[in-house]
């Protein structure tokens, strides 16, 4: 197998694969815009349904049971910080790939994958915790819009982790030389997109009451 990436002639002079991932990312912006809109338009309505709610104490009128606010900001902050750091780690891995520094590529790519796995684990823990506290997809408007929005994001993170693990295996097998670094750059663009979506979701869902 040749180590050289095929030189593709395009009318724009740009690599079609890179243009394709940017077009895909553009379409994903619209996808997440609908989910964020769905969450925001129901934000003022969720208090009419049964709790628990994100930031508000809610008393069940039938039983008098008091439900505490459900969101745990410290845990999500750690997850957010790790996702941001993973964006740093993957550009360093890409730098290593472009310069042909295999150790740098493997080390930072491994760190990125670990951060992604932690984030997915954090979300699994959070969802499980919420269900145990009585918040499900069907419970109230908050539950429905929250699980759909953050669940789809978590799915994107999971897909990203699988993609990065594939890149890691290719690098381990010495099938990701500097001439093929565009393959990692495309995966990195997807990963950064997953990160910037969370940059929006984190304040909108977790911090703004």
């Amino acid at each position: 197998m040749s180590d050289h990436a095929p030189a593709l002639e395009t009318s724009t002079g740009l690599d079609s694969r890179k243009l394709a991932i940017w077009t895909f990312i553009g379409s994903e912006c619209l996808f997440f815009a609908t989910l964020i809109s769905n969450y925001l338009v129901h934000k003022q309505q969720w208090l009419t349904g049964p709790g628990p709610f994100p930031h508000e104490v809610w008393t069940d009128p039938a039983t008098g049971k008091v439900l505490e606010p459900i969101i745990e900001i410290p845990l999500v902050t750690v997850g957010t910080a790790l996702l941001l750091f993973s964006s740093l780690f993957i550009v360093l891995a890409l730098y290593g790939a472009q310069k042909g520094r295999r150790g740098m590529l493997l080390g930072w790519l491994g760190a990125t994958i670990l951060c992604g796995l932690f984030f997915v684990g954090m979300q699994v823990y959070e969802f499980t915790h919420f269900v145990h506290k009585g918040l499900t997809l069907q419970r109230n408007m908050f539950g429905a819009s929250f699980f759909v929005l953050t669940g789809f994001h978590g799915t994107h993170v999971t897909i990203g982790v699988i993609w990065l693990i594939t890149m890691f295996i290719l690098a381990l097998r010495k099938q990701l030389p500097s001439t093929r670094s565009l393959n990692l750059e495309i995966a990195a663009l997807y990963w950064h997109f997953v990160d910037v979506v969370w940059v929006v979701i984190f304040p909108v869902v977790y911090l703004i009451k």
């Binding site: 990436a5 030189a7 593709l8 002639e9 395009t10 724009t12 002079g13 740009l14 890179k18 243009l19 940017w22 077009t23 990312i25 553009g26 379409s27 912006c29 619209l30 997440f32 815009a33 609908t34 964020i36 809109s37 925001l40 338009v41 003022q44 309505q45 930031h55 900001i73 902050t77 957010t80 910080a81 941001l84 750091f85 964006s87 740093l88 993957i90 550009v91 360093l92 730098y95 472009q98 500097s178 001439t179 670094s181 565009l182 990195a188 663009l189 950064h192 997109f193 990160d195 910037v196 940059v199 929006v200 984190f202 304040p203 911090l207 703004i208 009451k209």
Partner: protein, 118 residues
């Protein structure tokens, strides 16, 4: 037409030092977001927090926008790459912002109408 090679293409990309500085700045901005929440609504909220409550959402959105722009410009290399990529990314973001804003305004009218018994 000659096409840039992988090495020519990456020539304008930032150095690891620049990436690290941006990473640190992003971390500080995230800490600011959470700190802002804590002094406004958290357990340590005081008189100052009460005063800044009207500015809480705009401040948070501004911090979020700065983080978004930094990742897009430097980590996603939009600052150095072809402007076509920026266009393909920014145009849907503008549409997305219009969708979010329009739906919020529309639904606010809808709920207000419903609440008035209309």
């Amino acid at each position: 037409m000659a096409h840039p090679t992988a090495h020519e293409h990456e020539a304008g990309h930032p150095t690891p030092g620049t990436y690290a500085k941006i990473g640190l700045f992003l971390f500080i901005l995230t800490a600011l977001e959470v700190g802002l929440y804590e002094i406004t609504y958290g357990e340590h909220a005081g008189a100052f927090g009460h005063e800044i409550q009207p500015f809480f959402v705009p401040l948070l959105l501004a911090l979020s926008a700065v983080k978004f722009a930094l990742v897009a410009m430097f980590y996603m290399h939009l600052k150095q790459d072809s402007r076509l990529f920026s266009g393909v990314f920014v145009f849907p973001i503008i549409i997305a912002a219009v969708i979010i804003f329009s739906l919020m305004v529309l639904m606010a009218y809808h709920w207000a109408f419903a609440a008035s018994g209309g």
